[in-house]
Structure formats: structure tokens, C-alpha cells
Symmetry: C2
Subunit: 347 residues, 2 copies
């Protein structure tokens, strides 16, 4: 906090006016209160001279409104969450809001602590990517009338508004694409079990198999984290058991898993897509620059941030409390990481 900056009071004293007058002028209420041109000029000029900086802390206390929102993400260094943060910050700025950033590090205690902190800061609302395994604390907040919107991960059958992407159909499409290309033994490297993103993606995987009458082998669903290490480890495992399982394709539920998988396959001299095909959730600007251009499920939508802010302000402004959940569409981008096994046969 900077030392002895000019305040509304110091300006008032300086000019032998009342603080209320100064306040009105500085808030652009001059004509509403019919304050004389002269005073207005005087006030604005000295405010500039004295390098006056309004004190939002004081204002917030008085107004019982802070014009801030809280943003909690599991890991801001994950490009996907950073992308979300960018959108939220920009949209907030547009409506004159500032954002408090909290990184939960995928630790439920930090998530809870962060929510408390944000409550203590009296933020007007919070947008968060929850860790996604527990929601009682979120419900507490929501029911305590702290406007809340979940983004990316959410909870089914829990009354907290969210905006996310249609993970289910994205996964379904990906698997169907694999099946269309003659794959039957498809492994699925999953992320954090219990999160909506994972559940939906795995369900998409399972139902696509079902639709095409391919029996589900539970052992083909591997792993428990969206990170690089999990992708690497599970892929090593898959390669090891290749002659037992006859797996011909991997469905990766995240970009980081894919990177880990690529590393493992490279080390083991597995050829993509000839030995193993791979299709991955998450698109990046390097997706087609990897050693094999990866077919992906793209699910970024410019509306993600906008919609989240929209839902949040609906709550803040006490508008339609009609719970509105939003699921944005996905898109399949086909590249070279999926082999057409049917073509081979026909030829």
C-alpha cells in the first residue's frame, strides 16, 4: 500500500469543500447534483495534480460490492486452464471487474482454502474449474448465496451452474472414427477418475463400442490422471502386453497423456499408426507438428469464457435464477495417427 496518497478528504480540505461534493464530482455525478462548472474544474484539476487514486477498498466496504471475481483452476500452467483464465480475465475486464487468481494444485484442501479466501475478500462471484471429486464445500458456498459457476469440470445432478464441453459426444465420435477404420481392440487411457470430464469421455468410449457390438474389456481402460506421466506409464504397459491384448489403437483423454504416450512409443520403437493408432482429446497448435500428426478432438470454444461470465452475472444481478447449464460442442480433426485397417485388407 502506497504511503499518503491523496484522498477524497484531502482534496476536500485543500479546496475548502465537503467530501461529498468531491465524491460526486469524481464519480461523474456533477450535473445530477447541479454542481457548478467552476467547482467541477477545481476538483478534477486538483485531483490530477495531487495524483489522486480512488481507493477501491474503501469503496467496496461502503458499497458492499467489490467488483472482483475469484478464479480457481487446478493448474494454471496447463495450457488448457491458462486458455480459460485468459478468457475469464478478458471478459471480466470488459465489465469492469478484476480477478483474483487461485491455483488449487489439484489439492482439495487448497481448493477449500481458496474458496474461503475468496469469501473473505467478498468477491462478487467465483468461476472455477473444480478438482471435481467433491462438491459439498461448493454447494455450501452456492447455497450461501455466493454466485458460482463451474467451468470445464462439473457435477451431474448437483445444482451448480456450469459451462463445459460435450465430452461424451467428443469421445463417442473419436471411438467411432477408430471403429470405422477397423479397430476393435481399443485401449483408453483415462484421466482423474470421478471427474466429469473423465466420466463422460469414458462413457463415450464405452457406448461407442457398445453401439458397434464390440465387447467391453475393462482391462482396456487404464490409468488415473490427465498428466504426462500417466500417459507414459500406461503406454509402456500397453506395449508390454501387446501380444496378449492385440491392442491396435489408443484413445487418449488428454493432450498431456498423449505426449507421454508418444514418448513411450518413441522409446519402444512402436510405429504410429502402423503398430498402434492414437487419437487424442485436446487440440494444440503443435498437434500437427508432432512426429506423427495427431488426430484430435478439439473442444475449445471462444464462448467458454463469455458464457461462464454470463452465467455468473445472471446470478450476481439476480436475474433468471433458472439453472442454465451449457455444453459446448466438440469437433473431430482427422490427421495421420489413425491407420485404416480395412483398407489394408481390401487392397
Amino acid at each position: 500500500m502506497a504511503p499518503k496518497r491523496a484522498t477524497i478528504t484531502s482534496i476536500a480540505k485543500h479546496l475548502n469543500l465537503d467530501v461529498s461534493t468531491v465524491s460526486r464530482v469524481l464519480n461523474g455525478l456533477a450535473k445530477k447534483y447541479r454542481i457548478s462548472e467552476k467547482t467541477v474544474k477545481l476538483v478534477t484539476n486538483t485531483a490530477n495534480e495531487l495524483n489522486y487514486t480512488p481507493n477501491k477498498i474503501a469503496k467496496s466496504l461502503r458499497l458492499k460490492k467489490t467488483f472482483t471475481i475469484g478464479l480457481i483452476v487446478p493448474d494454471i500452467s496447463n495450457p488448457w486452464f491458462a486458455e480459460i483464465a485468459l478468457r475469464i480475465e478478458k471478459e471480466s475486464r470488459k465489465v469492469g471487474y478484476n480477478v483474483f487468481l487461485c491455483n488449487s494444485s489439484d489439492d482439495i484442501n487448497i481448493e477449500k482454502e481458496s474458496m474461503n479466501l475468496l469469501a473473505e475478500w467478498k468477491v462478487d462471484g467465483v468461476i472455477m474449474v473444480p478438482i471435481g471429486l467433491e462438491y459439498d464445500h461448493l454447494l455450501d458456498f452456492y447455497n450461501n448465496h455466493i454466485p458460482l459457476v463451474l467451468i470445464d469440470r462439473f457435477f451431474e445432478n448437483v445444482e451448480i451452474p456450469y459451462v463445459s464441453t460435450n465430452d461424451y459426444s467428443g469421445a463417442f465420435d473419436a471411438i467411432e472414427h477408430l471403429i470405422d477404420n477397423g479397430h476393435k481392440n481399443i485401449a483408453c487411457i483415462q484421466g482423474v477418475v470421478g471427474t466429469s470430464s473423465n466420466t463422460q469421455r469414458v462413457e463415450g468410449y464405452e457406448n461407442a463400442l457398445k453401439k458397434h457390438n464390440i465387447p467391453l474389456d475393462e482391462n482396456f481402460i487404464l490409468g488415473d490422471d490427465f498428466n504426462f506421466e500417466n500417459g507414459y506409464a500406461q503406454t509402456k504397459q500397453i506395449i508390454k502386453n501387446l501380444n496378449k491384448t492385440n491392442i491396435t489403437a489408443i484413445f487418449s483423454t488428454s493432450n498431456q497423456i498423449t505426449l507421454g504416450a508418444l514418448k513411450a512409443m518413441k522409446e519402444e520403437n512402436i510405429n504410429i499408426p502402423d503398430d498402434i493408432s492414437i487419437i487424442s482429446f485436446d487440440e494444440h497448435n503443435y498437434s500437427d507438428l508432432l512426429y506423427i500428426p495427431i488426430s484430435t478432438v478439439t473442444h475449445f470454444d471462444d464462448n467458454l469464457g463469455k458464457k461462464a461470465i454470463e452465467l455468473l452475472f445472471n446470478q450476481i444481478d439476480n436475474k433468471t435464477s433458472t439453472q442454465e447449464n451449457i455444453l459446448l460442442p466438440t469437433h473431430l480433426t482427422k490427421r495421420e495417427s489413425v491407420k485404416n485397417r480395412l483398407a489394408k485388407v481390401t487392397k
Copy 2:
């Protein structure tokens, strides 16, 4: 802001105590003021029952200290800045500070606006990656006693503390590696002209050439942005003029430039490293998974965030005002994107 939550006053009334007593108990000053066990229990219990949430806004106003810091970055969706944000958030949390996130979008007006905002919020200090072309507004703040630390980009000969990496020697090493492998016609795709990162990297490039008596061709220094598009466009240009310039290697000053360059070379069927070698600033977990494993200058250091926070708190706590600037070391990671042209000759 949530409606009518319990306050220190409401608790006091409820218990027929004075607010000061409640305040003391809730701030853990019970024994210092020798408050009876009974009252302590009473207070803490009812605080819990009433779901009391301390109001940091009020506290800040009273204390003239907010326990918040501001963080401004040009683009939070850039993995490098996100990495920085992560470090800053974590370190801040450790010392009980919260962070306001601002994204300047590489727009100097937004940067200025953000600094004003942060000043209005009376943050205790700000850490920022400045856009890097202007610094008068930063100096204003710094001289106005708002603790400030620059990170990544900085200004030489300007008295604002910074922590960054040794871009100069990183570039120098990279170019020397190229030269050692027999390259003489080396293009440099630069980033934003005028930023310290760029200036240092280009100087490293120039001086390495000089040291090895390779004449500098100004036309070999191309571009003006750290982004993908610049990398793509300049590389297209380089390829077009290849038979005039006989360029055999590209020094890319950023990861995004490299990605753009890779895309261009792929499109034009340029073989890396046989036709053109490339060495790049910035290391990522996909650097060796690209279609050609890229030799890079790694410059992330876990200390970056810690040091920045340290410098900031030195200012906040009015400790050693001795301007301390920190330049973290870089490291060269050799992979397969640089061809040894000497070996070819000898064989």
C-alpha cells in the same frame, strides 16, 4: 458479496461482549490479553455457528495493507507466462498473499490501465512481465513507492529491480553450437524489437558471429514478434530466398516462432536438419516429440518465482533497498535439429 453474514459486531452483540474482545479472540490474541478460556470458547463457537467469515476488505482498510499483490503478464495463455504465474501464485500463497491477475494482451494501454487498477486496489506490490517497450509509467509507480519487480523482460539502466534469465549467453551458446557444426549463414528470427529478451538474444547472436569472424549480414535478422505467425512468415521468406542467401541454419528466439517455422518447413518440404538446421529458445515437454527433435536453449528455473517474490518483499518490508537484479542461467539441450556440416566434409 454475500448477504448479511455474521460480523465481529454481530457476534459481540449476540454474546453481550465488546467487538474488541471478539476481534482479539478471533485473531489469536487471547492469551496476550489474558482473555478467559470461557470467553474464548464462547466466541469461537458462535463464530463457527454463525458461519463467520472475516472481512478482508474492512481489515485492509483499517490496516492500510491488503496482503495482495498484482500480477501482470502479456498473455497468460502463453505457457511460459503461465509457468511464471503458477510460481508467483504458489509463492504468494505461502506467505499469505493473494494475487490479482491482469492480462495486458501486449497492449501498452491495457498495461497502464492495469497498473492503475492495481494501485486503486492498494495492492502491496506488483510483479509483472512488462510489454517492454515503455517504462515511464512503471517508473512513476516505482517512484511513488509501489513495490515493483519485473520478471522475464526488463529495462537496462532503469532502476527497477528484475529477475530474468541470461538471454545473452543463452543465445551466444546456441550460435556457437551452430558455428561449431560448420554453419556460417545463420538466420535469426527475432521477437518484439526493443524488448530486453529480444535485444539480448540478438546481441548474443551477433557477438557469437563476431567472435568467430563471421561477418554479420543485417538481412539475416528477420521478423518482429515472438509468435507463431511471425515464425511461419519469416521462414517462408527464408525458404524463398534460399538460393540467394545460402542460409543453412535458423536461430529462433522463441518456442512459438519455432512452431511456426516448423510448419512452414513442413509445407515447403524442407528437410530439417539436412536442408536447414534450427535451434530454438524455450524448452517444452514436447520439444523432443516434434517431427524433428529440436535443440533448445532451456531457461526455466524454479527459482524465477521465488526470487521475484523475494525481491518484492524486500521492498515491501523496506529491507535492503539495494537494487538487486537477478539473471538466471540458461542451458543448451542438443537434439537432432542441427546438422554437423563439418562431419560431412571430413567423411
